[in-house]
């Protein structure tokens, strides 16, 4: 007779079950009260700014600039960075990743489950305040719809990229902030060529497409603005899965 009374009957873990397993673990790991409160406070900047602009009877271009700058350029990527980077990055750093890594499951369901958990938490903290900000500017329905689409697409793209950062890089927050503030916020503003490799250009293009506003570095058609960030996310998650399987785990 076995020490544990009877041998455990086992069957291969289905990919969907593995995704659900990783999703549940990571979701609960990410639900730290301090992190959520802090990022929610940051996200409040967007609706407060929208309300201030709306009170001043600003133009459509001003409203789009505000949403693109504060909402899509700051709140969205920073919140996505913190949650997506931490989704696997925190497990790696606190050495609990071993409890997922050693299971007889593929790597990609772990990465996909983690990314879905990050989206689940980041979505309400980004989409709601940014869309409310657009609404409060009083610049019409076009900006609200455009902001909604751009935020969702941008969230998918940023979560994919920053999940990869969390898997690969030890100081994923520092590298992520460098990407957001230095690459997207500064270098990518230098010209259309460089801007192509910044997710911000695609979310801005969606906004411009839906509003007709005049915004620099936002000249992609809607389809490109939507498809490229999604493709980037898929590729980033694929690379993250490969990396998770090939790296050392403590």
């Amino acid at each position: 007779m076995s020490v544990v009374d009877r041998p455990a009957a086992r069957r291969p873990v289905a990919p969907t079950a593995a995704v659900a397993l990783a999703y549940g673990v990571v979701l609960r790991q990410l639900l730290g009260r301090g992190r959520i409160i802090g990022l929610s406070a940051l996200a409040l900047i967007a609706p407060v700014s929208g309300w201030a602009l709306g009170s001043a009877d600003a133009s459509l271009d001003d409203a789009v600039n505000l949403v693109a700058g504060i909402g899509l350029g700051l709140v969205l990527p920073v919140v996505a960075l913190v949650f997506a980077g931490a989704s696997i990055g925190d497990l790696r750093e606190d050495k609990t990743l071993v409890y997922l890594w050693l299971r007889p499951i593929d790597r990609w369901p772990v990465v996909v489950g983690a990314a879905l958990a990050a989206v689940t938490i980041a979505a309400p903290i980004t989409i709601v305040p940014v869309v409310v900000a657009a609404l409060l500017t009083g610049a019409g329905n076009g900006i609200v719809a455009g902001t909604l689409v751009a935020t969702i697409v941008g969230l998918v793209g940023y979560v994919g990229v920053f999940t990869l950062f969390g898997v690969w890089l030890k100081r994923f927050i520092v590298w992520g902030l460098a990407y957001i503030l230095i690459w997207e916020g500064f270098i990518a503003q230098a010209g259309a060529g460089v801007a192509r490799v910044a997710l911000r250009k695609y979310t801005r293009s969606i906004l411009v497409d839906r509003t007709g506003a005049d915004l620099d570095l936002a000249d992609f058609p809607l389809a490109v603005g939507v498809i490229v960030p999604v493709v980037v996310a898929v590729v980033a998650l694929a690379v993250a899965s490969w990396r998770l399987g090939s790296q050392d785990v403590d």
Binding site: S2, V3, V4, D5, R6, P7, A8, A9, R10, R11, P12, V13, A17, A18, L21, G24, V25, R28, Q29, D94, K95, T96, V98, Y99, L100, W101, L102, R103, P104, I105, D106, D248, V249, D250
Partner: protein, 323 residues
């Protein structure tokens, strides 16, 4: 590497028996940059309990990480149940690791943590497997409590329980007795032996010699990344007992005690330092038996009897350097 006894200088490992077994390590080295964590280690072990003995930083955890596939060898090959644990998904379901680190999912209850492990292994009755494993480590009563509220010893037992839910054929335990009280240690060691008796390959690391004495008669000794000896624990113990021992004795009249120790042949050599006598003896047991009686006879008050070299480092030094 030496088969015990006698100790020999560490040289390139030359396997005596053919490399077959549930767990095979074949000329494995691991480098982290310029640091050599494991150097040309070769062994094969089969069912039963094997103790991996070595001081902190000897390379035990790195070796275990390679056995589980958590890191690849820089050179050589590791085979567990005939497969490469790093690349073979199926074989990972037949191995369990109790990692050295204390990290757990602290927000989960012990039951949830074990169910998570069971589900990850595809165990059909994951709740039942979790409950049975908790029972084995005497934590059934606190299964609903978050592991974040557990003591270090309880967390160790949760990790052991989590390693049992998939009914593993190979069980690798990295310092699993750390933080356990003596009763729990006995209980856990008995559990390891039962698991070994069931035909599982159980490998337990420790840096505490007395623990190893109870863990298993089969011992692998690792130091500075090299496998320096392997064999039966009793041979290792004899090696320790055969060599000269140095013991510090604190007392009220060290000169008188030192003279008597030499005169009675209990000590091979003595030196006096303040209120202490440094004693070199070839028979530590005889010394231990006679020192108290001798002190009483001489009217000398003993304040301390402390062996200075009855530790792992001195054993390793002896095995590696013969001194």
């Amino acid at each position: 590497m030496s088969e015990l006894p006698p100790p020999t200088l560490a040289t390139a490992a030359v396997p005596i028996e053919p490399l077959t077994g549930m767990l095979v390590v074949d000329h494995v080295s691991k480098f982290f940059g310029s640091v050599v964590a494991v150097s040309d280690v070769t062994f094969a072990i089969d069912e039963g309990v094997t103790a991996l003995l070595g001081p902190n930083g000897a390379g035990k955890s790195t070796l275990f990480r390679m056995l589980c596939g958590l890191t690849p060898p820089s050179r050589g090959a590791v085979s567990v149940l005939g497969a490469d644990p790093r690349n073979d998904r199926e074989v990972r379901g037949r191995i369990s690791l109790v990692p050295q680190q204390d990290a757990l999912f602290d927000h989960l209850s012990a039951s949830d943590f074990l169910e998570l492990a069971a589900r990850g292994h595809g165990v059909v009755d994951h709740a039942g497997a979790a409950a049975r494993a908790l029972h084995v480590v005497d934590l059934a009563d606190v299964g609903a409590k978050p592991v974040g509220q557990f003591s270090k010893g309880m967390r160790q037992r949760v990790k052991v329980a989590a390693a049992l839910v998939n009914d593993p054929e190979v069980l690798i335990l990295d310092e699993p007795l750390t933080g356990l009280d003596p009763v729990q240690r006995r209980h856990m060691i008995a559990l390891f032996h039962r698991l070994g008796d069931e035909g599982r390959c159980v490998v337990v690391s420790s840096h505490v010699l007395d623990e190893v004495a109870r863990i298993g008669s089969r011992v692998l000794v690792i130091a500075q990344g090299r496998l320096i000896a392997r064999g039966d624990y009793r041979d290792l113990r004899e090696l320790m007992d055969d060599r000269a021992h140095r013991i510090r004795v604190g007392c009220s009249d060290p000169r008188r005690l030192a003279a008597a120790l030499v005169e009675r042949g209990v000590a091979a050599g003595v030196s006096v330092d303040g209120h202490q006598v440094m004693v070199d003896t070839l028979d530590a047991d005889a010394f231990g038996r006679s020192i108290a009686d001798l002190a009483v006879e001489l009217g000398v008050r003993l304040t301390e009897v402390h062996p200075l070299d009855d530790d792992l480092e001195s054993v390793f030094r002896y095995l590696v350097e013969g001194r």
